[in-house]
Subunit: 339 residues, 4 copies
C-alpha cells in the first residue's frame, strides 16, 4: 500500500496516520522525493483501506499488489516524464535517441560525434569516462577530466550528456557535468550505489543486470525512488544466454512487459543487445515496435579504431540511416496505438 501525503501535511496529521497504521500492525517506510511525500507499507493483513484513506493529510492512497511499489503502474497510471531542460524530455510520448561512443577517447572524437549528432538533430550523447572492465589491465577511461572536456563541448553545442557512474565516491564530482547518470549492468544490484543515487536530483538510467530478471530491475528502481529520486529510466540491454551466435540476447519481451508494469520510461540498447554492428538497426527498430520510449546506441567515426566495443558500434553513415528509420518507425507505432 502506498499513501501519498498532501504537500502541506502537518506534523499532527502525520502522527495520526502513523498511529492508524500502527493500530493495524503496519509499519510505514517514509519516502520523500523531489515531487512528493509517501508512506510505503509492506504487510500482509487485510483491512479496509477507506478507514485510513479518509484521514486528513492524505492526498492519495492505493493498494499495490506488485512486490515493487512506487515504480508500479498500479500506483502511478501516468507515465513519468524526465525533463533534461532546454526542451529535451524523455518519456513524454516522443522518441529519444542517445548516441555516442563506448568510451570518450579524445577531443577530436568528441568534436566528430557532436557534429554527427547535430546533423541528425540528436540531443543526447552517450559516452563512458569510467569503464567497468573484466580485466584490471584494460583501459579504464579518461575519468573526471575527460568528462569535463566533454561537458564543455557538449554544452556549447546544446547536447545533453549521459555517462556511467561506477561508485558512490564518483557521484559528487560527476554531478555538475552529467545530465543523466547511468548505472551499468554489473552494478544493477549494487544497492549502496542505488541508495546514493536516490539522494541526488539527477535523472538515472538503470541498466538491467547481465542476467537480471525484470523484477530485479524494478526492485533496483524502487531503491532509487524510495531514497528520494523519481527521475528514473529503465534500460534493456540483452541478457546472458546459452547462444553463442551473438554477444547478449536482447530481451524484446522485457520491453513489452516493462511498458505494462511501470510508469518509468523504457530505453533499448540494441548495441549491447546483440553486439554485432550489422544487426543493431533491426533490433533498434524492433524495440520501438515493442514499445521503447527511446534508444541508446553506440556510434563512432571509425568503429574499427574505437578503444572498446568497436564490433557493435555504427559508423556515421549507418547511424544516420538508423536514426531516420527509427523516427519513422516510432511515428507509425504511435499512430497505430490509437487504432
Amino acid at each position: 500500500m502506498i499513501i501519498q501525503l498532501q504537500e502541506n501535511v502537518s506534523a499532527q496529521e502525520r502522527q495520526d496516520i502513523a498511529s492508524a497504521l500502527s493500530s493495524i500492525s503496519y509499519k510505514g517506510n517514509d519516502v520523500k522525493t523531489q515531487f512528493g511525500d509517501y508512506i510505503i507499507c509492506v504487510g500482509k493483513k487485510e483491512f479496509d483501506i477507506r478507514g485510513i484513506g479518509t484521514l486528513p493529510g492524505i492526498k492519495d492512497i492505493h493498494r499495490v499488489s506488485d512486490p515493487y511499489k512506487l515504480v508500479s503502474k498500479k500506483w502511478k497510471v501516468n507515465n513519468t516524464v524526465i525533463d533534461l531542460g532546454d526542451g529535451v524530455t524523455i518519456g513524454d510520448g516522443g522518441f529519444s535517441i542517445m548516441a555516442g561512443p563506448c568510451s570518450i577517447e579524445c577531443e577530436e572524437q568528441v568534436d566528430d560525434l557532436i557534429n554527427h549528432l547535430k546533423e541528425n538533430n540528436v540531443r543526447i550523447m552517450r559516452g563512458g569516462v569510467y569503464k567497468p572492465r573484466s580485466s584490471p589491465y584494460s583501459f579504464r577511461g579518461l575519468g573526471i577530466d575527460g568528462l569535463k572536456m566533454w561537458y564543455e563541448k557538449a554544452r556549447a553545442a546544446g547536447i545533453k550528456i549521459i555517462t556511467e557512474v561506477m561508485m558512490v565516491e564518483q557521484i559528487e564530482d560527476m554531478l555538475p557535468y552529467a545530465d543523466i547518470l547511468q548505472v551499468g549492468a554489473r552494478n544493477s544490484q549494487n544497492f549502496n550505489l542505488l541508495d546514493a543515487l536516490g539522494q541526488v536530483d539527477k535523472p538515472i538510467l538503470l541498466k538491467r543486470g547481465v542476467s537480471g530478471t525484470i523484477d530485479e530491475l524494478l526492485y533496483a528502481a524502487e531503491y532509487i525512488f524510495s531514497n528520494g529520486n523519481e527521475k528514473i529510466m529503465l534500460c534493456e540491454r540483452g541478457i546472458r544466454s546459452y547462444e553463442k551466435a551473438y554477444r547478449n540476447c536482447f530481451d524484446i519481451n522485457a520491453i513489452a512487459i516493462l511498458k505494462d508494469k511501470t510508469h518509468l520510461p523504457v530505453i533499448a540498447d540494441p548495441s549491447h543487445g546483440i553486439g554485432i554492428r550489422a544487426y543493431v538497426e533491426q533490433i533498434a527498430l524492433a524495440s520501438i515496435m515493442a514499445g521503447a520510449d527511446g534508444v541508446i546506441m553506440e556510434a563512432h567515426k571509425v568503429p574499427e579504431k574505437a578503444f572498446s566495443d568497436g564490433q557493435q558500434t555504427l559508423n556515421f553513415r549507418q547511424s544516420s540511416l538508423t536514426i531516420k528509420k527509427m523516427r519513422k518507425t516510432f511515428d507509425l507505432n504511435l499512430a497505430m496505438n490509437s487504432w
Copy 2:
C-alpha cells in the same frame, strides 16, 4: 563446397567429376531435390576450385565456409520462395500470416476460425491434431480424422493448412491433407523425422528447439534439404531462459541473424515467443522490423475455453487488429529497406 550439376548431366560427366574430387581426396555427398542435383563436399584441403568448376556437367560451384551448406546464403543468394498454390506464396517479399488455434477441437471451432481468417484475408490456418504433451495423461489431439474434417472445410474456403507432424509414421497419412508440415520445437533434432521429411515434396516449417542454437536450426534444415526437399521455412518461437516473467524468451536477435545467414523464409511465432496474450502483438510487430517474412500466431473465438495454450491465444477482435497492424508495419519496413 557445393557443386550444382546441369539438368542433363551425363553418367560419364558425373563419373569424371567424382574422379576429380577423389583425386583431391574429397568425398562428395550426392543430393537430389525437387529442384536440383548437387554434390556436397566437406573437407579441409585447400585447392583451386576452378580446376573442378570448368568440368563439363557443372552448372555452378561455390565454396561455403559455413558449417551448414545448402541452406546458406553463401550458396544461394536469392531468397527461397515457397509456393502453396492458388496464389499463396511465402518468402516472395510479401508478408505471410498463419493463424488459428493451438489444437483443432471440433467442427464449430474450425468454422469460426475459417470465417475469421476470410474476414481478414488470411490464407493459411494453423492448428494441431497431434499434440506433443509433457504429461501422458493430457489431451493429445483429434488425430487424422480431425485433420480430414479440417481439410474439407479449409479447402472449400480456399484456406491452406499448416499442422504439426510428430513421427515418421504419420507423414504418409497426413500428406494429402496438409499444405505445410510443421516440426515442433521438441522434435527439432529428431533426425530421423527430418530425414523422412526430406523425402517428401511438401513445404516444411521447422521450429527452433526449446533451447536450440541458431546453428542447430540451420543444421536441422540442412538435414531436410540434403534428403531432397528444398521447401523449408525456419521458425523462431522463443528459447528457454532463467527469466520467469514469461513462458519463453523470444529471440529477436535470431530473426535478424537468420535473415542474413540463410535464403530460407523466416517465420516468427510470437504466441509461444512470449506466452502472454497481452504482449503477443508487440512481439509480432517487433519481429517484422527484425526481418521476419511472416508470423504464425494463435487465435480462438474464446481463448479462455481453448483446450490448450489459451493464455497466449488472441481472441478475434485482438487478432483482427494485430493483423492490420502487422501488414502496415511490414509495408513500412519494406519501404525503408530501399532507403
Copy 3:
C-alpha cells in the same frame, strides 16, 4: 491418485471400480505393465479415498500430489531394481558402471574394450551404433550390423550392452541384441518413441534433455511406465548453460533431487556432463556422493583416435583408476547413509 489392482481382479470388480470413479467425476487411465495393473486418475475434486480403497479387487491405493504419478516415490517407496540377468542388477543398493566408447567403430576396438572391462570387473558396456549428429554429413554409426558383431563378442564375455535407439523403427531389430536401450538427450521429448519403448519388456535408460527440466525427465519416464514398461533408469548428463568453460553443465542438484522424488535408479554421465577428459573423474565421484546409483562413462584405448567425443573419453589407465575410486567412494557413501 493411483489404484493398483489385485492380480486376479475380475471383470465385474473392474467395472465396479470404474463406476465408483465415474460417480466422483474421475476418469481413470488403465495401465498394464510387466509387473502390475494400475488405474491412474488425474483430477482435482477432493473426496474420501477410503470410499474407493475398500472396493474388492484393489491391492493398493494412494494419492500422489506430484504431477507425474507412477514414477513418484510418493507412490512406490521401495527403489526399483533393474535385473539384466546373469547377476547384473541396477538400483539394488550396489554400484553400477557402464563404460565404453561413444561409437562402436570396429571389431578390434570392441575386443580391446571388452578386455578392459573384464580386467576391471565391469559388467555393462556402452557404445553407439546409431549416432545422432548435428550435421547430416557426419558419421552416423555402424548400424544394426555393428550391433550384432558387438553383441556376439559381449555375450561371449558375459558383458551386457547398453546402446542408443533413435527411432521407433529401430526398436524391433535392436531388441534381441541390446540389454538396455538408451534414449538420448535430443529424444527425451520424442513422445512417440517413449510410447513405443513403453510397449517392450526391455530396460530403458532415459537421458535428460539438452535443456530439459527435472519434471520433464520424470514426465518422460511416466510416458514409458504408463505404456507398460516399469524398467526405467534416469540419467543426468549435463544441461545447457551460458558458461563456455565446458561442454555441458553437470547438474549435481538434479541427482540429489531425483533420488528423493522417484524410485527409479539414477545414473550419472560425467563424460557428457563436463566434456573434458581431465575432469571426468571428479564429476563421477561427486555424483556418487550426491546419490547416483551408477555411472555411465566414455572409455577408449586411444581417445585421440576415437570417431567422436574423444576429448571427453578416458584412456584405459584413467578409466581403471576412476573405476577403483568410484567403488571406494560408493562404499563410503553407503556406510555414511546409516550414520
Copy 4:
C-alpha cells in the same frame, strides 16, 4: 608475462628492467602485495623471455597464457595457504568449514551458534551484518554494532569470523572485527570494491556472480591481487539456470576446473548452491569429491525462525551430521589423490 622482483631490488635495477620492457614495446603494470613485487606485462609481441629474465633484480619470470595472470596456476604452482592465525588455515591440504546463520540476529543466536561450532570443532563462523536485499523494504542487517557484538563473543571462544562487505565505505570500520571479508555474488563485478579490497591486508572470500563465468571470477580475483592483496579464496555458490526445481544450479564443474586453473583455495557454498535444506548435505559432499578445500554453509538453531534463507539452513542436528560426513569424505578424497 609476470616478472617477480627480488626483495632487495634496487631503483636502478627496476629502471633497467623497465627500459628492457620498453625496448620490446611492453608496458608493465607494477603490483606490490604483502608477499612480493611483480611486474605484469600484457602484450602480444613474441620475444625471447631469457633476454629479460637474466637481468639483475629479477627473482622469477614466466609467460602466462591465461587471460588472468597472478591468480593462474601457470604462474604459481604451489597452492596459496590463507593463515587466519591461532592455528586456523585454509588451503593447506586440510578441510575448512565455515558455518553459521544467513543473518546475525541477536546475542542469543550468536551464543547458540558458537556453542554449536565448538561442539563440532569448527573454527570459522559465517554471518551477515550487511545484507544485500532485492527489495529496499526488507531487513538489511544489524550493521557494525552487530558485528562488534559478534566479534566479542567469537574472539572469546576462539572462533574466526567471515562476513560480507558491501561497499568501500564499510571496509575500514569492519576491518578490526572480521577475519575474512566476503564479496557477495551481486558484487562480484563491483570493480571499485575489488580494487579497495586489494589494498587491505585481510583475507577475502570472493563469490562467483549470480551468472558469472569462471573466467570472470578469476578476473575479479586478479583485481584484488593486482591491487596488493594475495589472500583470496574463491567460492562457487550456484548459477542461474532455467530450472525451477531449486534456487540456484550448483556448478560442480566449476569446482573441478577452478582447482586446476588457479592456486587459490576453492570453497563450496552448498546452501545457496541448491537452496533446499534437504539436499545441502549431498551437495556439500559432492563438492569435496570435486576438489573443494572447504565448505561454507548456513546453520541455525531453528531455521524456520531465521530472518532470511531459512529454507536452505540446516538445524544443529543436521549440521553436526553433515560436518562429520564432510570430514570423512575429505579424508577419503585426500587418500585417493595419492593412488
